[in-house]
């Protein structure tokens, strides 16, 4: 228990360091700006952490993330396709919440269709499944790029604005609805945690224990889709954070049971993002390098864990 308290304190401390110093004369404005970003970072951390842990359970593999399997690329492709399909005017007519809702719905549908089949059919052939996911990621990224190039310039500008979210440009308009969605999904995931423990035993064991295995897989995939949509819409794609956090959370929690692992992963991810952003924004005076550093450090730690035989 003590370590969770420590982790929580560290999170609070880094949040305070991020929010409070050098507020200046226009403190209300600055504080609001920072609070928005902070909320974005915490939300993204939670969403990515939970999405990764859930996805790894469903895929029965510790080195997969929804991002590696191309889910964020699929989301960006859907965003692009939506602009192309509705046209600049039709797209602009929708509010940003409505757009987000539409995109999430599309992503859930596509993810269930794609990964439901993939995990169902390809479960015996894991290499093929992973390779399919990785290649699908490339396909969706390329398709987005392709669409962006052939669509008319006005639409392209909209896509740019829609897709160009980053750590320094958290998509603030979406925060309320994203927070709501994340909260609901995370609550559901925590409630499902005991069942996820059974799910992790594998299909035969889970079925013989009376779990509605296939339905639960689909539900979990839908939850993952929502979370990935939230994270990607808020700050854009981030491939290694989830991997890193999930890999650290299991040793931290000292167990593979989902409830502690999910909670540790969420806290670790939020801490990593907030502390990282604080460090870069305050200490180093840079704003847009955190994703690069997360990729860099996350990748290195992942390779280290891989070599130590900690990831299987």
């Amino acid at each position: 228990m003590a370590r969770y308290v420590l982790l929580g304190l560290a999170l609070l401390a880094s949040a305070a360091v991020y929010l409070l110093p050098n507020l200046g004369a226009k403190w209300e404005f600055v504080l609001a700006l920072r609070a928005t970003r902070l909320a974005g970072l915490v939300l993204v951390g939670i969403a990515i952490a939970v999405a990764t842990v859930l996805f790894q359970t469903v895929a029965r593999n510790r080195i997969l993330t929804p991002q590696i399997m191309g889910l964020d690329a699929l989301f960006i492709f859907l965003q692009t396709a939506l602009v192309a399909g509705l046209g600049p005017i039709g797209f602009a007519a929708l509010s940003s919440q409505a757009r987000f809702g539409l995109e999430v719905a599309l992503l859930i549908g596509a993810a269930l269709l794609l990964f439901g089949t993939l995990l169902g059919r390809g479960a015996q052939d894991v290499p093929r499944m992973i390779l399919t996911g990785v290649i699908l990621g490339v396909l969706f990224r390329s398709l987005s790029g392709f669409l962006a190039r052939v669509m008319d310039p006005n639409a392209f500008v909209i896509v740019q604005a829609e897709v160009a979210a980053s750590f320094s440009r958290v998509n603030a308009g979406l925060l309320p609805v994203a927070a709501l969605a994340t909260l609901a999904v995370v609550g559901l995931a925590l409630w499902l945690a005991p069942r996820l423990d059974v799910l992790a035993l594998g299909r035969p064991a889970a079925v013989s224990l009376g779990l509605a295995h296939d339905r639960l897989v689909l539900i979990v995939l839908a939850l993952v889709a929502v979370l990935v949509a939230v994270a990607t819409a808020l700050v854009g794609p981030l491939s290694f954070l989830g991997l890193l956090v999930a890999a650290l959370a299991r040793p931290f929690a000292g167990t593979d049971r989902h409830l502690p692992v999910l909670i540790s992963a969420m806290m670790l991810a939020a801490l990593m993002l907030v502390a990282g952003q604080t460090l870069f924004e305050r200490a180093l005076g840079q704003q847009s390098t955190l994703p690069a550093v997360v990729e860099f450090a996350g990748g290195l730690v992942f390779l280290f864990l891989l070599l130590r035989g900690r990831i299987r």
Binding site: I63, I68, D125, V126, P127, R128, I130, L131, T132, V134, I135, L136, V138, L139, R141, S142, L143, G145, F146, R149, V150, S239, F240, S288, T289, A292, V293, E295, F296, G299, L300, F302, L303, L306, L307, G309, R312
Partner: protein, 310 residues
């Protein structure tokens, strides 16, 4: 010449003809467009495709894993890092110095990757491509970061992301002949790579030094990757898709299959380049974008078309 090779060679002729014919400017007149632009571009595309496909096979033999290519093992990113370093330290350095630095860095990156995966449990086939992706991600993040800090992001972006041939004119692509030469060397040493693919024990048992074959392979991979990256930018998927298709059809007796792989790489890249010139004519789509779509679709089709064995 075996049958697949003959078929591909026959396919390559009309493709090359089309590539020579397609373009905004008319070919009539003194032939300047032809000699300065069309012919160099066609040659550059074919050389790049062939060299990358061969480099892909070599990489797969070095690692004994089908799911890798030089673009997913850190070679390209490391080469970009080397090129970037030289560009920053000595902006006026001669071209061959830059190429040497890029190749050396590519070699280092590949060697580090090989050292890395040697320590992974051998039965976990999947960890290899994933470790490769992470490793290239790490190096890529470094390149992007340095590029961003030094305002060279645009250059880096071209190297790492958008390989294309629209800028190829006579005098600006000739380094690719060197890449083609490296690929030819690999074809010449095909048996050695095939034996290396059988395992270190078998190679040693047959009197071959696995280390020296490995070094040769790494040089070929690094050279091809560095030259292609610096001349036209990274072109994804050729090194992954073509070798896998050829292996499925013909198996891995490289002496027979490597020339086919080279021809296949040339043909696929040429087809994609022509497509990129036609889709939004008179504008162009970079070949890497076309390839990202066609290549991945092709790969998925391959992957799911037939059962894994047989």
């Amino acid at each position: 010449m075996n049958r697949p090779a003959l078929l591909l060679a026959l396919l390559l002729v009309p493709l090359a003809g089309a590539s020579l014919g397609v373009g905004v400017a008319s070919l009539s007149g003194d032939g300047l467009v032809f000699w300065v632009s069309r012919l160099p571009r066609t040659l550059a595309v074919m050389l790049t495709g062939a060299a990358l496909a061969v480099a892909g096979v070599v990489m797969q033999q070095l690692v004994r894993n089908r799911f890798v290519e030089p673009g997913t093992t850190g070679t390209g990113e490391a080469a970009a890092l080397g090129l970037l370093t030289v560009t920053l330290i000595a902006p006026g350095a001669a071209l061959w110095v830059k190429m040497l630095a890029a190749t050396a860095a590519g070699l280092l990156g590949t060697a580090a990757f090989l050292a890395l995966i040697r320590r992974l449990p051998p039965q976990e086939v999947l960890l290899v491509p994933i470790a490769g992706l992470v490793w290239s991600g790490v190096l890529g993040a470094m390149v992007l970061h340095i590029g961003w800090q030094t305002d060279l992001l645009q250059l880096v972006g071209i190297w790492l992301m958008t390989g294309e041939f629209s800028g190829v004119i006579a005098g600006r692509y000739e380094l690719l002949w060197l890449a083609g030469l490296a690929a030819a060397l690999a074809i010449f040493a095909a048996d050695r790579f095939a034996i290396l693919g059988l395992g270190d024990g078998v190679a040693r048992g047959l009197g071959l030094n696995p280390r020296s074959v490995m070094r040769l392979g790494m040089v070929v991979v690094a050279l091809v990757t560095a030259l292609v990256m610096a001349t036209v930018g990274m072109v994804p998927f050729i090194g992954l898709v073509v070798p896998n298709i050829v292996s499925r059809v013909m198996g891995d007796n490289l002496r027979a299959s490597l020339p086919v792989t080279a021809l296949g790489g040339a043909a696929l890249l040429l087809a994609c380049d022509i497509l990129g010139r036609l889709v939004i004519h008179p504008y162009e789509i970079p070949v890497s974008a076309v390839l990202g779509v066609c290549g991945s679709a092709l790969f998925l089709w391959l992957l799911w078309r037939a059962p894994r064995h047989g």
